[in-house]
């Protein structure tokens, strides 16, 4: 018989309880006190948990410095940063609301002052120009007492008055040439509707066109920005009304004179034809073969009438259109019974 220790390879280490296992793994079991079969393992585990060896702290200074710097850089104190961030958010929202309320108040106050005409002259003019573009009428400001900064030392109002006064001496080109003018109120291109006799604009668009053309020909860069369209328009109408009141030769009187002259010419030709008819019997008795010549005379008379019409056109057609001539003939026909 052999001892049980001779059964090599058959013996197995005894199973361990949990407490012994934990102590063994923690290196708390001395190899001499280890359970049977676990002495070598206890020694190996103790060696594995041994003290620090050479080479295990390589790069210590570099890694420690990097970690310390990263910690200091990326870690503000949490207990302090949260309240500060909340206060900052509240103050920022409060500040934004206050700024918005102040801006609204300033805008409302400026609008109210502009609506009541309480702004200073230049500011009121600017507000008026802006309001005109959106179709709102505001009271006019007194811009003469305050010189706008944009005029750079020039009295813009005085310059506009002077240009409007000079406008009386200017005549619009008859062929409509020149710059394309747009209505400042509607930005629509405007064809000047001038009176053919004296260049006076006959419609509102004509007035606006004249004003715009005058100001665009000027050298004042601030004229457009400080322009008071309604005031200039009213002033322009008033000046031209006074001019027409003092005009000694109205256009209607000239047309009447031309009609009287034309009627006198027609009367004279008629009298000459009657005199020629009275003398014709004597000519027939003398020469029966002059019928052709008489016809020629008749044709000549017709030609004379036609020539008179051409003469009328030449006299009255200076710078005028055929439409105007037709109107004159119609007037002649309408006035003929009364004139006859």
């Amino acid at each position: 018989m052999s001892d049980w220790r001779d059964l090599d390879g058959v013996r197995q280490p005894l199973p361990l309880d949990d407490r012994t296992t934990d102590r063994l793994l923690a290196g708390m079991v001395d190899p001499d006190d280890a359970p049977p079969g676990y002495a070598g393992l206890a020694r190996a585990l103790g060696t594995a948990r041994g003290p620090v060896e050479a080479g295990e702290l390589v790069g210590r200074d570099r890694i420690v410095a990097a970690v310390a710097a990263a910690v200091a850089e990326a870690s503000p104190p949490t207990t302090v940063s949260i309240p500060l961030r909340r206060r900052s958010m509240v103050s920022r929202l409060f500040g934004t609301k206050v700024a918005a309320a102040a801006m609204t108040t300033v805008l409302l106050a400026t609008g109210a002052a502009a609506a009541t005409g309480s702004l200073p002259g230049a500011a009121q003019d600017a507000a008026n120009a802006v309001a005109d573009r959106v179709g709102v009428t505001l009271p006019l400001g007194d811009s003469t007492d305050v010189v706008p900064a944009s005029t750079q030392g020039k009295d813009a109002q005085t310059a506009r008055d002077a240009r409007l006064a000079e406008h009386d001496a200017d005549e619009a080109p008859a062929d409509g040439s020149g710059d394309v003018v747009t209505d400042p109120l509607t930005d629509v291109p405007v064809v000047p509707d001038d009176d053919s006799e004296n260049g006076t604009p006959a419609s509102q668009e004509g007035v606006n066109a004249h004003i715009v053309r005058d100001l665009r020909n000027s050298d004042d860069p601030a004229a457009d920005s400080t322009l008071d369209w309604k005031a200039l328009r009213d002033q322009f109408h008033a000046e031209h009304k006074a001019e027409h009141a003092s005009d000694p030769a109205p256009a209607a009187d000239d047309a009447q004179a031309r009609r009287d002259e034309h009627l006198a010419t027609v009367e004279q030709e008629k009298a000459e034809r009657d005199a020629a008819k009275d003398a014709r019997p004597a000519d027939d008795a003398d020469d029966q073969g002059d019928d052709v010549a008489d016809d020629d005379n008749a044709d000549d008379q017709g030609d004379d009438v036609a020539d008179d019409d051409d003469a009328d056109e030449d006299e009255s057609g200076k710078g005028q259109t055929h439409e105007h001539d037709d109107d004159e003939h119609e007037d002649d026909e309408a006035d003929a019974p009364a004139a006859g």
Binding site: A39, R43, A66, A68, A70, V71
Partner: protein
């Protein structure tokens, strides 16, 4: 491998950016961290250890817990870094130790005891895990080298504590057979 009562004050100083406190933590935990990483990936252990410390640094101020919790956090980060490295490199679990490496430790009288006496810590660890499966080696390393509890190991590895206990029992019995003085003597 424990700071004991001093851990709390050292941690507070380290969270404020004190370099001396970081140095204390490094000297305390770097050897175990390096041994664990060397047992798993010997070629990249030093680099992975540095990455672990730098990964902990930005979040160190927000850490709340005791020393065991800090150790568990440290090795959790190390394990994730190790997993990422292995996924990228598709490396092997451990570096195999050639048999000739242990020839010099053989002796006639008590070769096992004498050999164990001269083995360094890392070499012993390498021998331990070389005889275990991957899961068993991981459990033993975390329990021995990282000095983590069964609960911590179960949480890190995604297993139940009972499964971890069963696994460590089997591993110890297998290692006991391997390192048995009687078996070596024969």
């Amino acid at each position: 491998m424990s700071l004991g009562p001093e851990f709390e004050s050292v941690l507070c100083a380290a969270q404020a950016g004190a370099e001396w406190a970081v140095d204390v933590l490094f000297r305390e935990y770097q050897p175990a961290l390096l041994r664990y990483l060397r047992a798993c990936e010997p070629r990249a252990a030093e680099d992975l250890a540095g990455e672990v410390w730098l990964a902990l640094a930005p979040k160190l101020a927000a850490f709340m817990g005791d020393e065991a919790g800090f150790r568990g956090w440290l090795f959790t980060v190390a394990r994730r870094r190790l997993t990422g490295y292995r996924r990228q490199a598709a490396g092997r679990r451990t570096a195999p130790v050639p048999g000739e490496h242990f020839d010099g430790f053989a002796a006639t009288d008590d070769p096992a005891a004498e050999g164990m006496a001269f083995l360094a810590a890392q070499e012993t660890i390498d021998r331990l895990v070389a005889h275990l499966s991957e899961d068993q080696a991981e459990v033993v390393l975390l329990r021995v080298v990282a000095d983590l509890s069964v609960t911590e190991v179960a949480r890190m590895t995604g297993r139940t504590p009972g499964a971890v206990r069963v696994m460590q029992h089997r591993a110890l019995r297998k290692l006991a057979e391997t390192f048995s003085e009687e078996a070596v003597t024969r």
